[in-house]
Symmetry: D2
Subunit: 135 residues, 4 copies
């Protein structure tokens, strides 16, 4: 477990569980996205407002390591860290833990960038300020 | 607004919003199902446990009146009432209101029954006890 | 079975199946929406283009009668009819049948209208032309 | 473009498109899962039957490289290759291309294994036969 700059609590909903009785693989990406957008809001960056203004925050690469499945009724939390990858790219390091026993469920690395409506990369200042200098 | 026997708070997640910028119609059924299952748990009826035991709670009819759309970031709550329709059928009356202004969003009537693994109707006692006598 | 003005073939995908081993209730609304949008395209009405132009086709009421569940791997088809409800409202009557035995799965009545970006009702000509005179 | 052992055609459905007007990131995992399950069926391996028998095919790692977004109405296809990673692990290499121009959309590497109901790894013979000797 790391020092996270943002955490969010969740609970599995039954419609997210598949015929194996476990949360479907794709649903974890929904959880992770929701946590990222809530984090962005917490630093005054609204994904929806950006979308309306023609600035799209886009994911270019996702790596997901599935450690243990979540089941109906499970509570869990997501911890988030942020890493600068290059001048225009950043990575969200996101880990899912079951509550309350903190069993590791999933580790993700989500690399993103931001583009304007012409497809040109632009990094919003609010994000820039949180990222630190490029490596 | 009615006297509800169960209420649950929610927040729209961005992946639930479609290209019109509003929550997709089908997503409301997910919200309503989650509220029903949480209500059932609150009276010691676990949908997942029933499914494992071969007793399926099934919806036979759904009526949804869409009053006003939810948007990215909106908070809302669902109120639930229960009504006995016949000896083996019951209806969940579920209303969605935006928070904090309580603007009506959707009214739903979801009629259900319960069946065992052979497709024969069976009404769990826990539910029976909450339903009162058939009309 | 009725005379449908549009039909569309589908196959259940495993991620649409829930812990009961049957297609989740909400997923049928996705199927029905896809069939409506494909029908609209077949009469030169593109839902996505309309959304970009600020004209939103909105559902105001949905009635769904669940007759028999679909399961993993099932093939099925949706038949669609159109009915004028009033000057500005129309209804899609949509029925789902399993293939190839045509077992009835679900009957739906989806009432809609169209609004411009100011929330004023507007009925696109392409749809008007297909609806006939109001009752 | 590689030599694929299995390909499958798709079309974007409007409910899969998010507020940015593009297919939501998580939806690609649904597409990829459906293609894998259809491939498995083509070699007489039914995911649903396995699930009922207590053998779970599980994904342990997913890598997704997003190259270009899909939009409303886009047609596309998925090509699939299979690679043995170790005695008990295999990888699906899956690429998504838009139709008909074959523009690369996404490249995925999905590593999986199979477990019985006690969590012990078991590799179904039908899959073993297709995988060749471990490296």
């Amino acid at each position: 477990m790391h020092d996270y700059i943002f955490t969010l609590d969740f609970q599995v909903r039954d419609y997210e569980v598949d015929m194996q009785g476990i949360v479907n693989n794709a649903v974890y990406q929904n959880y992770l996205e929701h946590a990222r957008h809530e984090f962005l809001k917490s630093i005054d960056l609204d994904f929806a407002r950006f979308a309306r203004e023609g600035i799209n925050l886009v994911v270019v690469r996702t790596e997901l390591d599935y450690r243990h499945p979540l089941r109906s009724g499970d509570r869990f939390w997501i911890g988030l860290r942020l890493e600068r990858v290059s001048r225009l790219r950043f990575a969200f390091l996101q880990d899912i833990f079951r509550s309350p026993d903190n069993r590791p469920i999933l580790n993700a690395r989500v690399t993103g960038t931001a583009m304007n409506s012409k497809g040109r990369p632009v990094l919003p200042q609010e994000l820039e300020a949180r990222l630190g200098a490029p490596a």
